[in-house]
Amino acid sequence: MALSKALLSLVLMLVVAALLSTVAYGVIGWKQVMGSIRGLGEFILYHTYNIYDKTWWAGSPEAVTSIIWDYRGVDTVFETIVLYAAITGCLVLWSSLGGYWRKKGGRLTLVVRTATKILFAIILITSFNIALHGYITPGGGFAGGATFAVAPLLLLAAYGIDYLRRRGYRINRSKLIRSVALLLLALIVFIPFWMNGYLLENQAKPYAGFPGYPVYLGPLYIGGSLIYLNVFEFLVVAMEFVIVFIVFTIIWVGEKK
């Protein structure tokens, strides 16, 4: 019995290995791996910040962010929906567990608490920086939001598990910020559509009437719609991760039935 199970596991592992190798080969081909990348990648690299031929440009020198919010923006919109649904499911399950905050758990020493105060500010500033510079440097809404969500966790660890609730924090506030940010994100997505463009349009295209989001704000380079989408996505991801992390920290399973 045990032997047949082990054999089955082995066979399945080999099948997955063969599958992964085939996919890897099919996606790019070994000959190509060694020298060049696929044509689509090269097209995007060439056009993403081509100030001499603006037909297909995204207005951002950061190719990854321009794919996330311009060339393949619909992917990201649906991903945001998946994230929203998953977190909502988590909250439903949490409320079915009782939905209360655990009261037990002491706080840590003065040294740790002081260090946490300093780190808290640094983490917040770093996360804002990652999110706001997402269109010219590596990073963006997701990376910034994930960084932001660590900060309240540190507070819970250093000041005791009930600290945020005593200071007036409620999970509903995170939910409110998340919903408002999602609505603003949808607004940025829909504005070009209402102005004779298409959904998620960033820069002007020859076949759409929308003139494109401004790339410069006075002397300041802001990269079209990417900065707004990054900031709103930062708020959404940060608040959803904060909810998940806090709920996991304060979760209390209760007595066995």
Binding site: A24, V33, I37, L45, Y46, E79, C90, T137, E240, I251
Partner: protein
Amino acid sequence: MTPTTTLYVLNLAVLLAVALVGVYGVLAKKNIIKKIIALTILGDTVNTIAIYLGYRVKNNPLPPILPYLHPTQQEISVFASRAVDPIPQALVITAIVINLAVTAFLLFLAVKIYQHYGTLDYRRILEKMRR
């Protein structure tokens, strides 16, 4: 094979091996939490493989970010011919976030199962279900 190519192939083989460890964990572990850990290992490894496939072994590759706000025509051409593929990276950041959301949901289900059955061992859960 140049040293870079050898390293590339070796790293890819190691990543595939780690992915297999993830598959093994998902299939063979009895504890639900260990299954979830193995699932995250599998997901992260597959993401790394995806990024890895967009790498250029030759041509001294660049990151996919143009470091100038007023580039010349030649700088754009050089960037397009030497930077690594940005598409896998963009898809992987999507996959990471979805991975986290799915993991969080699975963990909540695990908590719920523990509350209901008092154990996370799936054999004992099955026993209790049959009763």
